[in-house]
Symmetry: C2
Subunit: 284 residues, 2 copies
């Protein structure tokens, strides 16, 4: 595995790979890799000749009061993990090359960026869209791999790719969970033992949502109410949102209908740690 730091080198490498008619896959990450990331690298490896994993903690997607500074980092461990997972290139650009002084260009995917997560993190998806577009320009991928845990991010990136004609295939992979059901996240290290134990309610409540649908419940508000109720039983939990939306358009829905996948998305704070999780429910 080759590690590239310079944006110029990265662009040159990818241009050459394309000229040699190699299929290029990109797995963009913020590092502190877990099994979710590794599943994306594995998926990329199965369909691409060249797999580029990028690690960049993107300041543009954090608000000033968020956890940019304390976001966990461990580049040595990440390098080993990337290598064993089969990545061809590890791309680790410097912040001052990605956002040099006077940087001022931002991409906005309107509407999709201001709902759900966007209501609580108004500049988040602008930062995500911008850095993803930059990483696409630098790595010139045919395919890019994103984890379904950030469900709204997947929808926003897909929309940007379509609108700006970026010509990249956006591939998503399922959420990877710990044995006890907690969705893998680099932020899980922030949790105290008690918070971690209470956070298991997220997966439990999402499973309950699917169960309710299986038992005939069609009212979205009733299902959301039950999910909220379950989470509220945990003393350290504070709900930002629980929402049932159309899984493709993220439009609000009132009732579940056969054939239309529904995303149950939630964000909940346990102490000072904010977790997101989701599931897509289908009427079986």
């Amino acid at each position: 595995m080759k590690t590239i730091v310079s944006t110029f080198e990265m662009q040159k490498f990818s241009e050459q790979a394309r000229l040699r008619e190699k299929t290029v896959g990109l797995v963009p990450t913020m590092g502190y890799l877990h099994k979710g990331h590794l599943s994306l690298i594995g998926k990329a490896k199965r369909s691409c000749d060249v797999v580029i994993t990028s690690i960049f903690v993107n300041p543009a997607q954090f608000a000033p009061d968020e956890d940019f500074a304390r976001y966990p980092r461990d580049i040595e461990r990440d390098t080993q993990l990337c290598k064993s997972a089969g990545s061809t290139v590890l791309f680790v650009p410097h912040e001052n090359e990605m956002y040099p002084e006077g940087y001022s260009t931002y991409i906005a995917v309107e509407r999709l960026s201001s709902i759900l997560e966007g209501k609580f993190r108004p500049t988040h998806f602008r930062g995500v869209a911008t850095v993803v577009a930059k990483l696409f320009s630098l790595t010139k991928p045919h395919k890019a791999f994103f984890g379904q845990k950030d469900a709204q991010q997947c929808v926003v990136v897909r929309k940007m790719v379509k609108d700006l004609n970026l010509g990249v295939e956006v591939v998503t992979a399922p959420i990877v969970r710990e044995k006890d059901g907690l969705a893998m996240s680099s932020r899980n290290v922030y949790l105290s033992a008690e918070e971690r134990s209470e956070a298991l309610i997220l997966h439990a409540s999402l499973r309950r949502a699917q169960e309710m649908a299986d038992h005939g419940e069609r009212n979205a508000a009733v299902i959301a109410g039950e999910v909220r109720h379950m989470i509220d039983t945990k003393p350290s939990a504070k709900i930002d949102y629980v929402a049932l939306v159309d899984a493709e358009s993220l439009a609000d829905i009132d009732s579940l209908e056969r054939g239309i996948p529904v995303l149950v998305a939630l964000a909940v704070r346990f102490g000072s740690t904010r977790l997101i999780d989701n599931t897509v429910i289908k009427i079986r």
Copy 2:
């Protein structure tokens, strides 16, 4: 010359050209071609194997009260001109393929987009940046050619290319003028005979600015004042702005200094026609 309408075809064509290691040049236009455009195609031809001229009257860069609907169009004549100028491909995408229903992704180059032209046309450069990025994705150029008449557009596009790592070389070509000095513009056809005659003051006033600098004037406000004064002598002229700014950063300047090119930019309405013009003055 090949005419391409479909965005899918265009992207495929350019991908193939790149695989065959051809240098691709793009000349993005809104059509109704004049000698300014043709000089860009000529310039592109001299340094690129493949020259793509795009014609697309971009609704996103017009405000609702502007001249989108009446903007002059003549695709038959444009096709002939493109061909004789040596363009390899004429790309004429449809509006509903460029901005399908639900389109919602926009690129903002902050600060540079809100000054000068941007004060009078607040959404203009957002539309320009967005369509140029889309055209870059569709035509994958190594070089793109822009006319210096839209001086601020050149600066905005250059900044976007740098910030988003687009890897396209932005080449600008000098303003082409009619024999009497009027800068070539597709909008000149809007002018009545009298307005057209009065509009000659624009070039005269810009030449006067250079003369003043040649005679030792270093005060930017004094030069701007003289330019305004000359234009104000014409009954049909209404000035939107006359500004002296750093030609690269578009930052305001107080005084002219040796070695720092200064852009004298202006926008003036003659009747219902809004013209822009500019010159770069240097202390000789």
